[in-house]
C-alpha cells in the first residue's frame, strides 16, 4: 500500500515563521495591558480592520481559531466542554463556542509561560486565567456568532459589545443599499469604539488595515490557486496551519506580509521546481468544513495511499477572496487599486470587497456551495471528495448532504464521515480510517 515517491519534496521554509506569528498573536493579546494597550475579542470573520483604527497597541483574540487550539488540547477541551454542559448549555451547540465558553468558565487559557517562554498549555505552560477583553467586536452571519458573544459578555461581567449584521444576501445580488447598510453599522461601530475605549479614532490606521486585509485575503487565495499544480505544493494538513493566520488577524500587517512576501513566493517556487507536499501523490481529494482538530492525523493517513488532500472550499474561501478570471477559472480576487480619501469611501470599498467571501455565500443556498465545490473539484483535478458531516458546526455543515449529491451527479466519488470539529467525543478515528480504506479502494488506490 505504501506508494513509492514520484516527486521531490521538502519542508516549507516559512513554516517556523508562521508558527512564530501565531504564538506572538496570542502573547500580544495576553500582554496587551502590560504595555498600556487594549484587548478585544471577536470572531475570525469580523471586520477586524475597524478596531485597528484605535491604535497600533490594540490586540485581538479571535474565537474560532482559539477554540480550535483548545480542541487540539484534548484534556483541556474535555474540561471546557464539561464545564459548559454543567452550566446548562446543550451538546448540540457550536463546539467552538462551547470550548470558548468553557475556557472562560474554567478560567483556563490555552497558553501560558514555561521558563519565561510563551507556549501552549499542553506543552507544560504554567496555567494562567482567561485574559478578559476590553470590548467585543463581532459580526453576525453564522447562526451562532452574535449569541456566542452575548454569552461571553455575560460570563465576563458585561463587557461592552458591538455586533454587525452582515447577512445581506449572496454576492451576485449585492446592491448599493446592502453595502451601505453594513457601512452605516461600521460607522456607528466606530463611534461605539471611541466611546468605549475613550480613544480618538485614526482613519489613516483604518486605511492601512483595510489594505492589509485586501492583501491577506487575495494573496492567500493566490497561494491556494497554485495548488492546482500536479504535484500539489501544499497538503491540507499544512494548509490548516497557514490559513489560520488569516483567521487570527487578516487586517494585520504581519499576516499580509507573511502571505505576500513569505508564503506566496515559496509556493510559486515549489510549483516551478515541482516540489510536492506528498511525494507519492497519485490521488487528489478535497475535504469540507473544519476538520476534527484532535485527529488531523487522518490527513497523514491518506498519504500512505498516495492521496493528497489539496484543501477545500473551507480552507480556500474562509479567508481567501476569489473571482472568476477572464479564462473562466477561479483565481485570487484583484486587489482594488485606489487611494482612500475618506472614512466613508474606505468603508464602502472594504464592505463591498468582503461581502464576496465564498464561505458566506452558502449560508444563503447550498446550491451556491455545490457549484463552488464542483468548480474546485474540476479545476484542482480531483479524484474524489471527503465530506465531514460536522456535528460541531451547523453553519458550515447545513446542506452538505445536498453538496454530496451534486458532487456525485458531477461525477466525483464522495466519502462522507461523521465527526465534530472541536468535540472529540463525537469522532470515531478507527471507523473513519476504515472508511478511508474503503474509499481509497474505490479510487483504485489498493
Amino acid at each position: 500500500m505504501e506508494q513509492e515517491a514520484k516527486y521531490p519534496t521538502e519542508k516549507l521554509k516559512c513554516w517556523q515563521k508562521a508558527k512564530d506569528i501565531r504564538m506572538k498573536f496570542y502573547q500580544d493579546y495576553v500582554e496587551a495591558h502590560d504595555k498600556g494597550g487594549l484587548r478585544w475579542a471577536g470572531g475570525a470573520w469580523t471586520f477586524d480592520a475597524i478596531p485597528a483604527g484605535l491604535g497600533d497597541d490594540v490586540y485581538p483574540i479571535t474565537s474560532e481559531p482559539y477554540s480550535a487550539t483548545i480542541a487540539f488540547d484534548k484534556k483541556l477541551s474535555l474540561e471546557c466542554m464539561e464545564a459548559t454542559e454543567v452550566k446548562g448549555y446543550p451538546r448540540d451547540l457550536c463546539s467552538y463556542m462551547r470550548n470558548y465558553w468553557g475556557s472562560i468558565i474554567t478560567d483556563k487559557f490555552a497558553f501560558g509561560y514555561k521558563d519565561g517562554e510563551f507556549v501552549p498549555r499542553f506543552q507544560g505552560a504554567k496555567p494562567i486565567g482567561f485574559p478578559k477583553p476590553d470590548f467585543i467586536w463581532q459580526d453576525h452571519i453564522c447562526c451562532s456568532h452574535a449569541k456566542w458573544y452575548q454569552v461571553v459578555s455575560d460570563l465576563e461581567g458585561g463587557i461592552p459589545m458591538y455586533t454587525v449584521d452582515n447577512a445581506v444576501g449572496p454576492s451576485h445580488e449585492l446592491t448599493d443599499s446592502k453595502i451601505k447598510y453594513v457601512v452605516e453599522q461600521l460607522k456607528d461601530g466606530i463611534k461605539f469604539l471611541e466611546k468605549t475605549t475613550k480613544r480618538d479614532y485614526d482613519d489613516e490606521l483604518l486605511y492601512k488595515a483595510i489594505r492589509n486585509h485586501f492583501v491577506s485575503t487575495s494573496k492567500w487565495a493566490e497561494a491556494c490557486a497554485l495548488n492546482k499544480a500536479i504535484p500539489a505544493p501544499l497538503d491540507e494538513k499544512s494548509i490548516y496551519s497557514l490559513y489560520v493566520l488569516g483567521t487570527l488577524q487578516k487586517a494585520g500587517k504581519q499576516v499580509a506580509d507573511f502571505y505576500e512576501k513569505d508564503l506566496l513566493p515559496e509556493v510559486q517556487d515549489r510549483v516551478k521546481r515541482g516540489i510536492a507536499a506528498v511525494p507519492n501523490e497519485s490521488f487528489r481529494v478535497m475535504s469540507d468544513t473544519q476538520p476534527p482538530w484532535s485527529f488531523l492525523s487522518i490527513f497523514r493517513y491518506l498519504e500512505k495511499f498516495g492521496c493528497v488532500s489539496i484543501g477545500s472550499l473551507y480552507t480556500f474561501g474562509l479567508i481567501g477572496q476569489w473571482e472568476v478570471k477572464k479564462d473562466g477559472t477561479w483565481g485570487a480576487k484583484t486587489i482594488p487599486n485606489m487611494e482612500f480619501s475618506s472614512r466613508d469611501q474606505a468603508l464602502y470599498e472594504y464592505v463591498k470587497y468582503e461581502l464576496h467571501k465564498p464561505e458566506w455565500q452558502h449560508f444563503y443556498s447550498c446550491h451556491f456551495k455545490s457549484d463552488l465545490m464542483i468548480r474546485i473539484a474540476k479545476e484542482w483535478k480531483l479524484s474524489g471528495v471527503m465530506l465531514h458531516y460536522n456535528r460541531g458546526c451547523e453553519g458550515l455543515t447545513v446542506g452538505i448532504a445536498e453538496n454530496r449529491l451534486a458532487l456525485l451527479d458531477a461525477g466525483f466519488p464522495v466519502m462522507a464521515f461523521e465527526g465534530n470539529n472541536a468535540d472529540e467525543r463525537e469522532f470515531d478515528e478507527a471507523r473513519t480510517k476504515a472508511k478511508i480504506n474503503a474509499f481509497m479502494e474505490t479510487l483504485g488506490a489498493k
Binding site: 464522495v414 470515531d428 478507527a430 471507523r431 476504515a434 474503503a438 479502494e441 474505490t442
Partner: protein, 259 residues
C-alpha cells in the same frame, strides 16, 4: 492456486479457503475477548478442514474490524470491497449489497467486476446492526435464533421510534408493560432495524438485484422487514456470514467478476 480469506468481525471470525476459486474449507469461531487466539483457532480449523498447512497457501487477505489481528496475512482489504466481490461471485447480477453484521450495517453499490462504486456505513449506532437484535432478544427474554421465527407470528405493526439501542430497550420495557405480545415486539424490533438500514441504503441508491450478507441475514424476520421497506426481495446467499471472508479469498486469488 490456494488462497485464504479471513474476516475478523466484531463477534465472529470467519475463514474461507479456495482452491482455484472453489471453496474447499471454511470455519467460524466466536471472537471472544482473546481475539488473536480465536483467530488462530479459526485459521487452524479451516486448514484442518482443507487438509492443508499454512505453507500450501499462495496468498492470504484479511478483512474486518480486527483485520490486523489475523495470525498471518499478506494484505488487508476493506469489508465493503470483500463483501461486493463475494456477492458478485455468488450472484453475478448483484449490483447492490447490504451487509448487516454484529457491529455495523453497510450498504454498497458495485459494478459487474465487484468493484465498489459507492458505499455507506452506519456510524456510532448499534440500531442498524446485529448488536441491536441481541440486545432486544435479551430484553424480550427470547433466544436470538428464535427471534426471527417469533416475529413472523406478529399480528400487528407496532412502531418503535427510538433511534438508539439503549432507548429502544426502554421502549421494549414500555411495550411489555402495555401487554404487547412478544411476537409483535419482535416484529417491531426488526422493522426498526430494517428502517435504519433502508435509510442508509437509500442514500447511495440500489437496484433490484440486492444481495444481503452478514450474520443478520440469517434472521428471517429481519429479512422480511427489509424486503417490505425496500419494496423488493433481497437475495440471501447460503451461509451469508461467510461472504466477506469469501470475498477476501477471491481477492487473494485475483478473481474479478464479469469475466
Amino acid at each position: 492456486m490456494i488462497t485464504m480469506g479471513i474476516d475478523l468481525g466484531a463477534k465472529f471470525i470467519k475463514v474461507v479457503i479456495l482452491k482455484d476459486n472453489k471453496i474447499i474449507a471454511k470455519s467460524n469461531v466466536l471472537a471472544g475477548f482473546e481475539v488473536d487466539k480465536s483467530a488462530q483457532k479459526a485459521v487452524d480449523n479451516a486448514l484442518k478442514d482443507a487438509g492443508i498447512t499454512k505453507d500450501n497457501l499462495d496468498k492470504v487477505i484479511s478483512t474486518g474490524a480486527g483485520e490486523k489481528l489475523a495470525p498471518f496475512y499478506d494484505e488487508t482489504k476493506s469489508v465493503v470491497g470483500c463483501d461486493s466481490l463475494g456477492a458478485v461471485y455468488l450472484h453475478p447480477a448483484a449490483r447492490s449489497v447490504i451487509d448487516v453484521g454484529a457491529e455495523e450495517g453497510r450498504g454498497m453499490r458495485c459494478d459487474e467486476t465487484g468493484k465498489i462504486l459507492d458505499f455507506e456505513v452506519n456510524e456510532k449506532c448499534a440500531a442498524g446492526a446485529g448488536a441491536f437484535t441481541e440486545a432486544m432478544s435479551r430484553a424480550l427474554e427470547v433466544k436470538l435464533e428464535d427471534l426471527g421465527d417469533l416475529s413472523l407470528k406478529a399480528t400487528e405493526d407496532i412502531p418503535m421510534n427510538a433511534q438508539c439501542t439503549v432507548f429502544a430497550e426502554s421502549e421494549v420495557v414500555t411495550m411489555v408493560h402495555n401487554n404487547v405480545s412478544k411476537a409483535n415486539m419482535a416484529k417491531a424490533v426488526h422493522d426498526a432495524m430494517a428502517s435504519r438500514i433502508t435509510s442508509m441504503v437509500r442514500k447511495i441508491g440500489f437496484n433490484k438485484d440486492v444481495v444481503l450478507v452478514g450474520g443478520v441475514a440469517n434472521n428471517i424476520g429481519f429479512v422480511g422487514s427489509l424486503n417490505k421497506d425496500l419494496g423488493l426481495k433481497v437475495v440471501v446467499p447460503k451461509e451469508p456470514e461467510f461472504v466477506g471472508a469469501l470475498g477476501a479469498a477471491l481477492a487473494a486469488a485475483g478473481w474479478i467478476g464479469g469475466k
